[in-house]
Protein backbone atom coordinates (compact mmCIF):
# COMPACT_ATOMS: atom_id res chain seq x y z
CA UNK A 1 0.00 0.00 0.00
CA UNK A 2 1.27 3.43 -0.83
CA UNK A 3 1.58 5.07 2.53
CA UNK A 4 1.45 8.57 1.07
CA UNK A 5 -2.19 8.16 0.11
CA UNK A 6 -3.25 7.62 3.70
CA UNK A 7 -3.71 10.49 6.09
CA UNK A 8 -4.34 8.48 9.23
CA UNK A 9 -1.30 8.06 11.46
CA UNK A 10 0.52 10.80 9.59
CA UNK A 11 1.40 13.98 11.43
CA UNK A 12 3.09 17.28 10.85
CA UNK A 13 6.45 18.19 12.37
CA UNK A 14 7.33 21.88 11.92
CA UNK A 15 10.78 22.58 10.51
CA UNK A 16 11.79 24.56 13.63
CA UNK A 17 11.08 21.44 15.74
CA UNK A 18 13.08 19.02 13.62
CA UNK A 19 15.98 19.15 16.08
CA UNK A 20 13.68 17.45 18.60
CA UNK A 21 13.72 14.32 16.41
CA UNK A 22 17.53 14.19 16.50
CA UNK A 23 17.46 14.89 20.25
CA UNK A 24 14.90 12.16 20.91
CA UNK A 25 16.96 9.62 18.98
CA UNK A 26 19.97 10.56 21.12
CA UNK A 27 17.88 10.32 24.29
CA UNK A 28 16.80 6.82 23.29
CA UNK A 29 20.47 5.86 23.10
CA UNK A 30 21.07 6.07 19.36
CA UNK A 31 24.11 7.55 17.73
CA UNK A 32 22.66 9.53 14.88
CA UNK A 33 24.12 9.77 11.38
CA UNK A 34 22.64 11.76 8.55
CA UNK A 35 23.43 13.57 5.33
CA UNK A 36 26.22 16.13 5.49
CA UNK A 37 28.31 17.83 2.85
CA UNK A 38 31.84 16.52 2.69
CA UNK A 39 34.44 16.79 -0.06
CA UNK A 40 31.90 17.87 -2.64
CA UNK A 41 29.33 15.15 -1.99
CA UNK A 42 26.40 14.29 0.28
CA UNK A 43 27.92 11.82 2.74
CA UNK A 44 26.36 10.21 5.78
CA UNK A 45 28.20 11.27 8.91
CA UNK A 46 27.60 11.87 12.58
CA UNK A 47 24.69 14.25 13.03
CA UNK A 48 24.10 16.25 16.20
CA UNK A 49 22.31 19.36 15.01
CA UNK A 50 20.17 20.39 12.06
CA UNK A 51 22.81 22.98 11.15
CA UNK A 52 24.91 20.09 9.77
CA UNK A 53 22.21 19.16 7.25
CA UNK A 54 22.76 20.22 3.62
CA UNK A 55 20.31 23.12 3.56
CA UNK A 56 19.42 24.38 0.11
CA UNK A 57 21.87 21.98 -1.50
CA UNK A 58 21.00 20.29 -4.77
CA UNK A 59 22.93 17.88 -6.93
CA UNK A 60 23.60 17.47 -10.62
CA UNK A 61 24.36 13.94 -11.69
CA UNK A 62 25.11 12.41 -15.08
CA UNK A 63 27.18 9.44 -16.25
CA UNK A 64 30.62 9.90 -14.62
CA UNK A 65 29.57 13.23 -13.15
CA UNK A 66 28.46 14.51 -9.73
CA UNK A 67 28.36 18.11 -8.51
CA UNK A 68 26.62 19.89 -5.66
CA UNK A 69 25.12 23.36 -5.81
CA UNK A 70 24.28 25.51 -2.81
CA UNK A 71 22.01 28.47 -2.33
CA UNK A 72 18.63 26.85 -2.87
CA UNK A 73 15.56 26.87 -0.65
CA UNK A 74 15.18 26.14 3.05
CA UNK A 75 14.95 22.39 2.56
CA UNK A 76 17.44 19.81 3.82
CA UNK A 77 16.63 16.86 1.56
CA UNK A 78 16.43 18.38 -1.94
CA UNK A 79 19.01 16.04 -3.39
CA UNK A 80 19.38 12.53 -4.71
CA UNK A 81 21.69 10.00 -3.04
CA UNK A 82 25.45 10.56 -2.99
CA UNK A 83 27.98 7.74 -3.40
CA UNK A 84 27.41 6.14 -0.04
CA UNK A 85 24.54 3.83 0.81
CA UNK A 86 23.54 2.12 4.07
CA UNK A 87 25.98 -0.63 3.11
CA UNK A 88 29.02 0.50 5.14
CA UNK A 89 26.99 0.63 8.37
CA UNK A 90 25.98 -3.02 8.20
CA UNK A 91 28.67 -4.53 6.01
CA UNK A 92 31.89 -2.62 6.75
CA UNK A 93 34.44 -2.31 4.00
CA UNK A 94 36.97 -4.16 6.13
CA UNK A 95 36.63 -6.18 9.34
CA UNK A 96 38.44 -8.96 11.17
CA UNK A 97 36.21 -12.04 11.43
CA UNK A 98 38.38 -14.31 13.53
CA UNK A 99 41.93 -14.91 14.59
CA UNK A 100 44.04 -18.00 14.94
CA UNK A 101 46.93 -18.45 17.36
CA UNK A 102 49.62 -21.05 17.86
CA UNK A 103 50.32 -22.12 21.44
CA UNK A 104 53.72 -23.22 22.79
CA UNK A 105 52.99 -26.87 21.91
CA UNK A 106 52.24 -25.97 18.32
CA UNK A 107 48.47 -26.39 18.77
CA UNK A 108 46.09 -24.08 16.93
CA UNK A 109 43.18 -22.22 18.48
CA UNK A 110 40.62 -19.99 16.80
CA UNK A 111 38.59 -17.14 18.24
CA UNK A 112 35.69 -15.32 16.64
CA UNK A 113 35.93 -11.53 16.72
CA UNK A 114 32.41 -10.24 17.18
CA UNK A 115 31.82 -6.56 17.71
CA UNK A 116 29.18 -5.12 20.00
CA UNK A 117 27.76 -2.33 17.90
CA UNK A 118 26.12 0.74 19.40
CA UNK A 119 22.50 1.52 18.54
CA UNK A 120 22.62 3.55 15.33
CA UNK A 121 19.95 5.77 13.78
CA UNK A 122 20.39 6.69 10.13
CA UNK A 123 18.42 9.74 9.09
CA UNK A 124 17.66 10.44 5.46
CA UNK A 125 17.46 6.93 3.97
CA UNK A 126 15.87 6.78 0.53
CA UNK A 127 13.48 4.19 -0.87
CA UNK A 128 16.13 2.67 -3.13
CA UNK A 129 18.35 2.02 -0.13
CA UNK A 130 15.47 0.51 1.84
CA UNK A 131 14.97 -1.91 -1.05
CA UNK A 132 18.72 -2.64 -1.04
CA UNK A 133 18.57 -3.23 2.71
CA UNK A 134 15.83 -5.83 2.24
CA UNK A 135 18.07 -7.57 -0.30
CA UNK A 136 21.04 -7.54 2.06
CA UNK A 137 18.82 -8.87 4.85
CA UNK A 138 17.87 -11.76 2.57
CA UNK A 139 21.50 -12.40 1.66
CA UNK A 140 23.14 -12.05 5.07
CA UNK A 141 20.40 -13.20 7.46
CA UNK A 142 18.35 -15.87 5.73
CA UNK A 143 19.57 -19.33 4.93
CA UNK A 144 21.42 -21.89 7.02
CA UNK A 145 24.34 -19.67 8.12
CA UNK A 146 23.29 -16.12 8.96
CA UNK A 147 26.17 -13.67 9.17
CA UNK A 148 26.59 -12.87 12.87
CA UNK A 149 28.55 -9.69 12.15
CA UNK A 150 25.79 -8.28 9.94
CA UNK A 151 23.04 -9.52 12.26
CA UNK A 152 24.42 -7.70 15.30
CA UNK A 153 24.62 -4.40 13.45
CA UNK A 154 21.22 -4.89 11.88
CA UNK A 155 19.55 -5.37 15.28
CA UNK A 156 20.89 -1.99 16.38
CA UNK A 157 19.80 -0.09 13.28
CA UNK A 158 17.00 2.48 13.39
CA UNK A 159 15.91 3.98 10.10
CA UNK A 160 14.47 7.42 9.43
CA UNK A 161 13.50 7.41 5.78
CA UNK A 162 12.78 10.46 3.63
CA UNK A 163 10.71 10.38 0.44
CA UNK A 164 12.81 11.30 -2.56
CA UNK A 165 11.44 14.46 -4.14
CA UNK A 166 14.53 15.20 -6.24
CA UNK A 167 15.73 12.15 -8.17
CA UNK A 168 18.87 12.70 -10.23
CA UNK A 169 19.03 12.24 -13.99
CA UNK A 170 20.78 8.95 -13.28
CA UNK A 171 17.92 7.57 -11.13
CA UNK A 172 15.49 4.91 -12.34
CA UNK A 173 13.84 3.57 -9.19
CA UNK A 174 10.40 3.87 -10.78
CA UNK A 175 11.31 1.22 -13.35
CA UNK A 176 12.62 -1.17 -10.69
CA UNK A 177 9.55 -0.53 -8.53
CA UNK A 178 11.59 0.63 -5.54
CA UNK A 179 10.86 4.36 -5.24
CA UNK A 180 10.71 7.28 -4.97
CA UNK A 181 8.44 7.03 -1.88
CA UNK A 182 9.52 5.03 1.17
CA UNK A 183 6.77 2.48 1.67
CA UNK A 184 8.21 -0.17 3.98
CA UNK A 185 11.21 -1.16 6.04
CA UNK A 186 11.56 2.04 8.07
CA UNK A 187 11.02 3.02 11.69
CA UNK A 188 10.06 6.59 10.85
CA UNK A 189 9.34 8.08 7.44
CA UNK A 190 9.35 11.73 6.44
CA UNK A 191 8.10 13.73 3.51
CA UNK A 192 9.65 17.17 3.35
CA UNK A 193 7.65 20.36 2.81
CA UNK A 194 8.92 23.93 2.91
CA UNK A 195 7.41 24.49 6.37
CA UNK A 196 8.28 21.10 7.87
CA UNK A 197 7.71 17.39 7.51
CA UNK A 198 4.89 14.94 7.24
CA UNK A 199 5.93 12.15 9.55
CA UNK A 200 4.75 8.64 10.35
CA UNK A 201 6.02 5.61 12.23
CA UNK A 202 6.62 2.23 10.64
CA UNK A 203 7.52 0.35 13.81
CA UNK A 204 6.80 0.34 17.54
CA UNK A 205 10.21 1.86 18.15
CA UNK A 206 9.30 4.60 15.72
CA UNK A 207 5.99 5.24 17.50
CA UNK A 208 7.83 5.68 20.81
CA UNK A 209 9.91 8.45 19.28
CA UNK A 210 6.90 10.09 17.62
CA UNK A 211 5.10 10.20 20.97
CA UNK A 212 7.80 12.55 22.24
CA UNK A 213 7.68 15.00 19.33
CA UNK A 214 5.66 18.25 19.09
CA UNK A 215 3.40 16.99 16.30
CA UNK A 216 0.22 18.48 14.92
CA UNK A 217 -2.46 17.31 12.52
CA UNK A 218 -1.48 17.12 8.88
CA UNK A 219 -3.79 18.99 6.51
CA UNK A 220 -5.09 18.03 3.10
CA UNK A 221 -3.11 20.75 1.39
CA UNK A 222 0.13 19.39 2.78
CA UNK A 223 -0.74 15.88 1.65
CA UNK A 224 -1.58 17.18 -1.82
CA UNK A 225 1.75 18.95 -1.93
CA UNK A 226 3.76 15.79 -1.17
CA UNK A 227 1.67 13.79 -3.66
CA UNK A 228 2.35 16.25 -6.42
CA UNK A 229 6.07 16.35 -5.58
CA UNK A 230 6.23 12.56 -5.74
CA UNK A 231 4.32 12.60 -9.04
CA UNK A 232 6.88 15.04 -10.41
CA UNK A 233 9.71 12.85 -9.09
CA UNK A 234 8.19 9.89 -10.92
CA UNK A 235 7.54 11.79 -14.13
CA UNK A 236 11.05 13.28 -14.08
CA UNK A 237 12.85 9.94 -14.35
CA UNK A 238 14.12 9.42 -17.86
CA UNK A 239 16.14 6.24 -17.43
CA UNK A 240 14.63 2.78 -17.07
CA UNK A 241 15.56 -0.86 -17.21
CA UNK A 242 14.09 -2.66 -20.22
CA UNK A 243 10.98 -4.65 -19.51
CA UNK A 244 11.06 -8.35 -20.14
CA UNK A 245 12.68 -11.43 -18.69
CA UNK A 246 16.19 -10.01 -18.30
CA UNK A 247 17.39 -13.25 -16.79
CA UNK A 248 16.65 -15.18 -19.98
CA UNK A 249 17.62 -12.38 -22.37
CA UNK A 250 21.03 -11.81 -20.81
CA UNK A 251 21.92 -15.49 -20.60
CA UNK A 252 20.73 -16.02 -24.18
CA UNK A 253 23.18 -13.33 -25.25
CA UNK A 254 26.45 -14.29 -23.61
CA UNK A 255 28.28 -13.81 -26.91
CA UNK A 256 26.62 -10.53 -27.80
CA UNK A 257 29.07 -8.04 -29.40
CA UNK A 258 27.98 -5.40 -26.89
CA UNK A 259 30.11 -7.12 -24.23
CA UNK A 260 33.20 -6.39 -26.36
CA UNK A 261 31.99 -2.86 -26.91
CA UNK A 262 31.56 -2.09 -23.23
CA UNK A 263 34.91 -3.75 -22.43
CA UNK A 264 36.56 -1.13 -24.66
CA UNK A 265 35.28 1.55 -22.27
CA UNK A 266 35.13 -0.23 -18.91
CA UNK A 267 38.12 0.31 -16.58
CA UNK A 268 37.38 -2.81 -14.49
CA UNK A 269 38.00 -0.55 -11.50
CA UNK A 270 35.10 -1.84 -9.39
CA UNK A 271 33.66 1.59 -8.57
CA UNK A 272 30.19 0.50 -9.73
CA UNK A 273 30.16 -2.50 -7.41
CA UNK A 274 31.55 -0.52 -4.47
CA UNK A 275 28.84 2.17 -4.69
CA UNK A 276 26.13 -0.39 -5.47
CA UNK A 277 23.95 -0.73 -2.37
CA UNK A 278 23.26 -4.41 -3.06
CA UNK A 279 26.71 -5.70 -4.14
CA UNK A 280 28.03 -7.81 -1.29
CA UNK A 281 31.10 -9.57 -2.68
CA UNK A 282 34.04 -9.70 -0.31
CA UNK A 283 37.44 -11.32 -0.23
CA UNK A 284 38.75 -13.02 2.88
CA UNK A 285 42.41 -12.72 3.68
CA UNK A 286 44.87 -14.03 6.19
CA UNK A 287 47.11 -11.44 7.82
CA UNK A 288 49.78 -13.30 9.81
CA UNK A 289 51.86 -11.58 12.46
CA UNK A 290 55.57 -11.28 11.74
CA UNK A 291 56.49 -13.89 14.36
CA UNK A 292 54.16 -16.38 12.68
CA UNK A 293 52.35 -17.16 15.95
CA UNK A 294 49.01 -15.58 15.15
CA UNK A 295 46.95 -14.56 12.17
CA UNK A 296 43.93 -12.35 11.64
CA UNK A 297 41.30 -13.51 9.19
CA UNK A 298 39.71 -10.44 7.70
CA UNK A 299 37.21 -9.72 4.98
CA UNK A 300 37.06 -6.66 2.80
CA UNK A 301 34.88 -5.40 -0.01
CA UNK A 302 35.84 -7.02 -3.27
CA UNK A 303 34.31 -6.98 -6.72
CA UNK A 304 33.61 -9.21 -9.70
CA UNK A 305 35.86 -6.76 -11.56
CA UNK A 306 38.96 -7.94 -9.68
CA UNK A 307 41.23 -10.75 -10.75
CA UNK A 308 40.93 -12.41 -7.35
CA UNK A 309 37.15 -12.74 -7.66
CA UNK A 310 37.38 -15.55 -10.19
CA UNK A 311 40.75 -16.96 -9.14
CA UNK A 312 40.56 -20.70 -8.61
CA UNK A 313 43.07 -23.51 -8.99
CA UNK A 314 45.90 -21.34 -10.18
CA UNK A 315 44.18 -19.08 -12.67
CA UNK A 316 41.43 -16.50 -13.00
CA UNK A 317 38.49 -17.89 -14.96
CA UNK A 318 37.43 -14.34 -15.88
CA UNK A 319 40.75 -12.91 -17.04
CA UNK A 320 39.45 -9.94 -19.00
CA UNK A 321 37.10 -7.00 -18.64
CA UNK A 322 34.57 -8.43 -21.07
CA UNK A 323 33.89 -11.48 -18.94
CA UNK A 324 33.97 -9.45 -15.73
CA UNK A 325 31.46 -6.85 -16.92
CA UNK A 326 29.27 -9.65 -18.24
CA UNK A 327 29.46 -11.40 -14.88
CA UNK A 328 28.35 -8.22 -13.13
CA UNK A 329 25.41 -7.50 -15.38
CA UNK A 330 24.19 -11.07 -15.76
CA UNK A 331 24.30 -11.56 -11.99
CA UNK A 332 22.88 -8.19 -11.00
CA UNK A 333 19.99 -8.23 -13.44
CA UNK A 334 19.70 -11.92 -14.23
CA UNK A 335 20.73 -14.79 -11.97
CA UNK A 336 20.06 -12.59 -8.92
CA UNK A 337 16.36 -13.24 -9.59
CA UNK A 338 16.89 -16.99 -9.15
CA UNK A 339 18.89 -16.40 -5.98
CA UNK A 340 16.82 -13.77 -4.20
CA UNK A 341 13.50 -13.62 -6.02
CA UNK A 342 14.11 -10.23 -7.52
CA UNK A 343 16.62 -8.23 -9.55
CA UNK A 344 19.69 -7.00 -7.70
CA UNK A 345 19.16 -3.49 -9.06
CA UNK A 346 17.14 -0.96 -7.06
CA UNK A 347 17.47 1.88 -9.58
CA UNK A 348 19.63 4.20 -7.44
CA UNK A 349 21.82 5.04 -10.43
CA UNK A 350 25.01 5.23 -8.36
CA UNK A 351 26.87 2.90 -10.74
CA UNK A 352 26.13 5.36 -13.55
CA UNK A 353 27.16 8.58 -11.81
CA UNK A 354 30.22 7.12 -10.08
CA UNK A 355 31.62 5.21 -13.07
CA UNK A 356 34.82 7.17 -13.82
CA UNK A 357 34.13 6.82 -17.55
CA UNK A 358 30.35 7.20 -17.39
CA UNK A 359 29.16 3.74 -18.39
CA UNK A 360 25.38 3.57 -18.09
CA UNK A 361 24.02 0.19 -17.02
CA UNK A 362 20.56 0.97 -18.42
CA UNK A 363 22.10 1.77 -21.78
CA UNK A 364 24.21 -1.39 -21.85
CA UNK A 365 21.37 -3.75 -20.97
CA UNK A 366 19.08 -1.79 -23.28
CA UNK A 367 21.48 -2.30 -26.18
CA UNK A 368 21.66 -6.03 -25.55
CA UNK A 369 17.86 -6.29 -25.44
CA UNK A 370 17.33 -4.11 -28.52
CA UNK A 371 19.99 -5.69 -30.69
CA UNK A 372 18.88 -9.18 -29.77
CA UNK A 373 15.31 -8.32 -30.76
CA UNK A 374 13.95 -8.85 -27.27
CA UNK A 375 12.62 -5.36 -26.93
Amino acid sequence: MDRTLQSQDRYFLPRQSFQSLIDQLALQGFSCVGPTMWDGAIIFDRLDTVSQLPQGVSDRQAPGYYRLESGGDSRWFSWANGPQALKPYLFPSREVLWEGTVDENGGLSFKERLTEPEPLAVLGVRACDLAALAIHDAHFLKGPSPDAHYARRREQLFIVAVDCSHPASTCFCVSTGDGPAATRGYDIALAELDEGFIIDAGSDRGKLILDQLPLSEVNEEQLDQTRSELDAAIAGQTRALPEGPLNRILFDNLDHPRWDDVAQRCLACGNCTSVCPTCFCASENEVPSLDGLSSEHSREWSSCFTQGHSYISGHAIRPDTRTRYRQWLTHKLGSWIDQYGRSGCVGCGRCIAWCPVGIDLTEEVGAICRESGDE
Binding site: W38, D39, G40, A41, I43, G64, Y65, Y66, R67, G82, P83, Q84, P88, S93, R94, Q264, R265, C266, L267, A268, C269, G270, N271, S274, V275, N285, E286, V287, P288, S289, L290, D291, G292, E300, W301, S302, S303, T306, Q307, G308, P319, D320, T321, R324, A353, W354, C355, P356, V357, G358
Partner: protein, 269 residues
Protein backbone atom coordinates in the same frame (compact mmCIF):
# COMPACT_ATOMS: atom_id res chain seq x y z
CA UNK B 1 64.37 -21.33 6.30
CA UNK B 2 62.15 -21.19 9.37
CA UNK B 3 64.26 -19.93 12.25
CA UNK B 4 62.54 -22.08 14.88
CA UNK B 5 63.34 -25.27 12.99
CA UNK B 6 66.97 -24.77 12.10
CA UNK B 7 67.94 -22.54 14.99
CA UNK B 8 70.05 -20.54 12.54
CA UNK B 9 68.78 -17.15 11.51
CA UNK B 10 68.46 -16.51 7.78
CA UNK B 11 70.88 -13.87 6.52
CA UNK B 12 69.43 -10.76 4.94
CA UNK B 13 70.82 -7.82 2.97
CA UNK B 14 69.32 -4.51 1.83
CA UNK B 15 71.10 -3.03 -1.20
CA UNK B 16 70.77 0.42 -2.70
CA UNK B 17 71.05 1.39 -6.36
CA UNK B 18 69.92 4.61 -8.10
CA UNK B 19 67.15 5.84 -5.81
CA UNK B 20 66.13 8.36 -3.19
CA UNK B 21 66.56 5.89 -0.27
CA UNK B 22 62.86 6.19 0.55
CA UNK B 23 62.24 2.45 0.25
CA UNK B 24 64.97 1.69 2.78
CA UNK B 25 63.12 4.05 5.11
CA UNK B 26 60.20 1.61 4.93
CA UNK B 27 62.45 -0.64 7.04
CA UNK B 28 63.81 2.10 9.27
CA UNK B 29 60.32 3.49 9.94
CA UNK B 30 59.14 0.15 11.30
CA UNK B 31 60.20 1.15 14.81
CA UNK B 32 59.95 -1.73 17.27
CA UNK B 33 58.98 -4.12 14.52
CA UNK B 34 62.47 -3.65 13.07
CA UNK B 35 63.89 -5.02 16.34
CA UNK B 36 61.53 -7.98 16.09
CA UNK B 37 62.67 -8.50 12.51
CA UNK B 38 66.31 -8.34 13.63
CA UNK B 39 65.53 -11.19 16.03
CA UNK B 40 64.28 -13.32 13.18
CA UNK B 41 66.87 -12.59 10.51
CA UNK B 42 70.50 -11.60 10.64
CA UNK B 43 70.89 -8.21 8.98
CA UNK B 44 74.22 -8.75 7.26
CA UNK B 45 74.23 -5.75 4.96
CA UNK B 46 72.12 -2.61 5.29
CA UNK B 47 74.41 0.38 4.89
CA UNK B 48 71.76 2.94 5.81
CA UNK B 49 71.09 1.15 9.11
CA UNK B 50 74.71 0.26 9.95
CA UNK B 51 76.04 -3.14 8.84
CA UNK B 52 78.14 -3.08 5.68
CA UNK B 53 79.07 -6.32 3.94
CA UNK B 54 77.87 -5.96 0.34
CA UNK B 55 79.64 -9.09 -0.88
CA UNK B 56 78.44 -11.39 1.92
CA UNK B 57 76.43 -14.47 0.99
CA UNK B 58 72.80 -14.02 2.08
CA UNK B 59 69.53 -15.97 1.99
CA UNK B 60 67.36 -12.99 1.07
CA UNK B 61 68.31 -9.65 -0.47
CA UNK B 62 66.10 -6.58 -0.85
CA UNK B 63 67.12 -4.37 -3.74
CA UNK B 64 66.21 -0.70 -3.87
CA UNK B 65 66.92 1.50 -6.88
CA UNK B 66 67.44 1.11 -10.60
CA UNK B 67 70.38 0.27 -12.83
CA UNK B 68 71.85 3.50 -14.23
CA UNK B 69 75.61 2.83 -14.49
CA UNK B 70 77.99 0.12 -15.70
CA UNK B 71 79.00 -0.34 -12.07
CA UNK B 72 75.35 -0.95 -11.13
CA UNK B 73 75.26 -3.71 -13.72
CA UNK B 74 78.31 -5.41 -12.24
CA UNK B 75 76.95 -5.06 -8.72
CA UNK B 76 73.51 -6.54 -9.37
CA UNK B 77 75.03 -9.52 -11.18
CA UNK B 78 77.38 -10.04 -8.26
CA UNK B 79 74.52 -9.73 -5.76
CA UNK B 80 72.48 -12.22 -7.75
CA UNK B 81 75.32 -14.72 -7.57
CA UNK B 82 75.57 -14.64 -3.77
CA UNK B 83 71.91 -14.12 -2.79
CA UNK B 84 69.32 -16.86 -2.41
CA UNK B 85 66.05 -14.94 -2.87
CA UNK B 86 65.98 -11.49 -4.46
CA UNK B 87 63.23 -8.99 -3.80
CA UNK B 88 63.20 -5.90 -6.01
CA UNK B 89 61.22 -3.32 -4.06
CA UNK B 90 60.04 0.13 -4.99
CA UNK B 91 59.29 1.89 -8.26
CA UNK B 92 63.00 2.26 -9.19
CA UNK B 93 63.84 -1.42 -8.77
CA UNK B 94 60.63 -2.63 -10.46
CA UNK B 95 60.16 -0.06 -13.26
CA UNK B 96 63.24 2.18 -13.39
CA UNK B 97 61.78 4.96 -11.25
CA UNK B 98 61.27 8.61 -12.07
CA UNK B 99 64.85 8.73 -13.40
CA UNK B 100 63.72 6.44 -16.23
CA UNK B 101 62.23 9.55 -17.86
CA UNK B 102 65.68 9.80 -19.43
CA UNK B 103 64.73 6.70 -21.46
CA UNK B 104 62.49 8.96 -23.58
CA UNK B 105 65.13 11.65 -24.16
CA UNK B 106 68.76 12.18 -25.04
CA UNK B 107 70.42 11.45 -21.69
CA UNK B 108 73.71 13.09 -22.70
CA UNK B 109 71.94 16.32 -23.54
CA UNK B 110 70.32 16.30 -20.07
CA UNK B 111 73.74 15.76 -18.44
CA UNK B 112 75.17 18.80 -20.15
CA UNK B 113 72.19 20.88 -19.10
CA UNK B 114 72.26 19.80 -15.45
CA UNK B 115 75.97 19.45 -14.59
CA UNK B 116 78.67 22.08 -14.92
CA UNK B 117 81.25 19.40 -15.74
CA UNK B 118 79.29 16.54 -17.28
CA UNK B 119 82.50 14.71 -18.25
CA UNK B 120 82.78 13.50 -14.65
CA UNK B 121 79.42 11.70 -14.92
CA UNK B 122 79.66 8.12 -16.08
CA UNK B 123 76.16 6.75 -16.48
CA UNK B 124 74.11 4.68 -18.87
CA UNK B 125 71.65 6.28 -21.27
CA UNK B 126 68.80 4.44 -19.55
CA UNK B 127 67.43 3.68 -16.11
CA UNK B 128 66.13 0.12 -15.93
CA UNK B 129 64.54 -2.22 -13.40
CA UNK B 130 66.39 -5.14 -11.85
CA UNK B 131 64.36 -7.69 -13.79
CA UNK B 132 65.93 -6.41 -17.04
CA UNK B 133 69.29 -7.72 -15.86
CA UNK B 134 68.92 -10.59 -13.40
CA UNK B 135 66.30 -13.09 -12.28
CA UNK B 136 64.17 -11.40 -9.65
CA UNK B 137 62.23 -13.73 -7.32
CA UNK B 138 59.69 -11.19 -6.11
CA UNK B 139 58.76 -7.64 -7.04
CA UNK B 140 57.11 -5.27 -4.58
CA UNK B 141 55.81 -2.19 -6.36
CA UNK B 142 55.25 1.23 -4.86
CA UNK B 143 56.92 4.58 -4.30
CA UNK B 144 57.61 3.64 -1.61
CA UNK B 145 56.12 0.21 -0.83
CA UNK B 146 54.32 0.15 2.50
CA UNK B 147 55.62 -1.70 5.54
CA UNK B 148 52.86 -4.29 5.47
CA UNK B 149 53.90 -5.35 1.98
CA UNK B 150 57.54 -5.63 3.00
CA UNK B 151 56.82 -7.46 6.25
CA UNK B 152 54.25 -9.64 4.49
CA UNK B 153 56.89 -10.64 1.95
CA UNK B 154 59.41 -11.53 4.66
CA UNK B 155 56.76 -13.43 6.62
CA UNK B 156 55.72 -15.40 3.54
CA UNK B 157 59.35 -16.13 2.65
CA UNK B 158 60.01 -17.40 6.18
CA UNK B 159 57.03 -19.73 5.70
CA UNK B 160 58.53 -20.81 2.38
CA UNK B 161 55.70 -19.31 0.32
CA UNK B 162 55.10 -16.21 -1.77
CA UNK B 163 53.06 -13.33 -0.34
CA UNK B 164 49.55 -12.59 -1.53
CA UNK B 165 49.78 -9.45 -3.63
CA UNK B 166 46.66 -7.56 -4.61
CA UNK B 167 46.58 -6.08 -8.06
CA UNK B 168 43.21 -4.46 -7.39
CA UNK B 169 42.86 -0.92 -8.63
CA UNK B 170 43.32 1.98 -6.22
CA UNK B 171 39.58 2.64 -6.71
CA UNK B 172 38.74 -0.49 -4.72
CA UNK B 173 40.68 0.80 -1.74
CA UNK B 174 39.44 4.37 -2.29
CA UNK B 175 35.87 3.14 -1.90
CA UNK B 176 36.79 1.01 1.11
CA UNK B 177 38.10 4.24 2.66
CA UNK B 178 34.83 6.02 1.70
CA UNK B 179 36.74 8.77 -0.08
CA UNK B 180 34.74 10.80 -2.58
CA UNK B 181 35.90 10.09 -6.15
CA UNK B 182 37.87 13.16 -7.32
CA UNK B 183 37.38 12.23 -10.98
CA UNK B 184 33.60 12.18 -10.73
CA UNK B 185 33.00 14.88 -8.10
CA UNK B 186 35.78 17.31 -9.08
CA UNK B 187 36.63 16.45 -12.66
CA UNK B 188 40.23 15.99 -11.52
CA UNK B 189 42.46 13.58 -13.46
CA UNK B 190 43.16 10.54 -11.28
CA UNK B 191 45.23 7.48 -12.17
CA UNK B 192 43.46 5.31 -9.60
CA UNK B 193 41.48 3.28 -12.16
CA UNK B 194 44.68 1.98 -13.82
CA UNK B 195 46.92 1.78 -10.76
CA UNK B 196 47.39 -1.12 -8.38
CA UNK B 197 46.54 -0.52 -4.77
CA UNK B 198 48.94 -0.65 -1.84
CA UNK B 199 49.01 2.97 -0.71
CA UNK B 200 45.59 2.88 0.96
CA UNK B 201 44.31 5.40 -1.62
CA UNK B 202 46.37 8.04 0.14
CA UNK B 203 46.05 10.91 -2.33
CA UNK B 204 42.33 10.58 -3.15
CA UNK B 205 41.65 10.49 0.61
CA UNK B 206 43.20 13.97 0.70
CA UNK B 207 41.22 15.18 -2.30
CA UNK B 208 44.01 14.71 -4.87
CA UNK B 209 44.19 12.53 -7.94
CA UNK B 210 46.30 9.35 -7.79
CA UNK B 211 49.87 9.71 -9.14
CA UNK B 212 50.15 6.00 -9.85
CA UNK B 213 52.98 5.38 -7.39
CA UNK B 214 52.18 1.66 -7.26
CA UNK B 215 52.34 1.10 -10.99
CA UNK B 216 49.99 -0.52 -13.50
CA UNK B 217 47.15 -2.68 -12.21
CA UNK B 218 46.15 -5.88 -13.99
CA UNK B 219 43.43 -5.72 -16.68
CA UNK B 220 43.91 -1.99 -17.01
CA UNK B 221 42.35 0.15 -19.72
CA UNK B 222 44.68 3.09 -20.23
CA UNK B 223 43.12 4.10 -23.54
CA UNK B 224 39.66 4.52 -22.05
CA UNK B 225 40.93 6.54 -19.11
CA UNK B 226 43.10 8.70 -21.39
CA UNK B 227 40.03 9.33 -23.55
CA UNK B 228 38.04 10.42 -20.50
CA UNK B 229 40.88 12.77 -19.46
CA UNK B 230 40.66 14.32 -22.91
CA UNK B 231 36.95 14.86 -22.35
CA UNK B 232 37.78 16.66 -19.09
CA UNK B 233 39.79 19.11 -21.17
CA UNK B 234 43.33 17.82 -20.69
CA UNK B 235 45.77 18.39 -23.54
CA UNK B 236 47.65 15.39 -24.97
CA UNK B 237 50.86 16.57 -23.23
CA UNK B 238 49.03 16.68 -19.92
CA UNK B 239 47.57 13.21 -20.39
CA UNK B 240 51.01 11.88 -21.35
CA UNK B 241 52.46 13.29 -18.12
CA UNK B 242 49.84 11.39 -16.11
CA UNK B 243 51.35 8.15 -17.42
CA UNK B 244 54.95 9.38 -17.27
CA UNK B 245 55.33 9.63 -13.54
CA UNK B 246 57.42 7.44 -11.21
CA UNK B 247 56.39 4.31 -13.13
CA UNK B 248 56.86 5.87 -16.57
CA UNK B 249 58.80 2.90 -17.94
CA UNK B 250 56.44 0.18 -16.73
CA UNK B 251 55.51 -1.36 -20.11
CA UNK B 252 51.77 -0.61 -19.81
CA UNK B 253 52.32 3.07 -18.98
CA UNK B 254 55.19 3.48 -21.44
CA UNK B 255 52.95 2.16 -24.23
CA UNK B 256 49.95 4.24 -23.11
CA UNK B 257 52.04 7.41 -23.27
CA UNK B 258 53.51 6.44 -26.67
CA UNK B 259 50.03 5.82 -28.04
CA UNK B 260 48.82 9.24 -26.91
CA UNK B 261 51.86 10.91 -28.49
CA UNK B 262 51.45 8.91 -31.74
CA UNK B 263 47.72 9.67 -31.95
CA UNK B 264 48.36 13.34 -31.31
CA UNK B 265 51.06 13.44 -34.02
CA UNK B 266 48.61 11.70 -36.35
CA UNK B 267 46.19 14.57 -35.82
CA UNK B 268 48.84 16.88 -37.25
CA UNK B 269 49.29 18.99 -34.17
Amino acid sequence: METSRSGIKPRMAVHKFASCDGCQLTFLNMGETLLQLADMVELVHFAEAGPVAPDAKVDIAFIEGSVTTEHDLERIRQIRSHSGFIVAFGACATAGGVQALRNFSDAREWLSEVYATPEYIDSLATSTPMSDHVKVDLEIWGCPPNRDQVLGAIRAWLYGTLPEQSQDKVCMECKRQHAVCVLVAKGMPCMGPVTQTGCGALCPCFGRGCYSCYGPAEALNSASLAGWFEGLGLLPEEITRQFRHVNNSAPEFRDAASNIIATDAGHGR
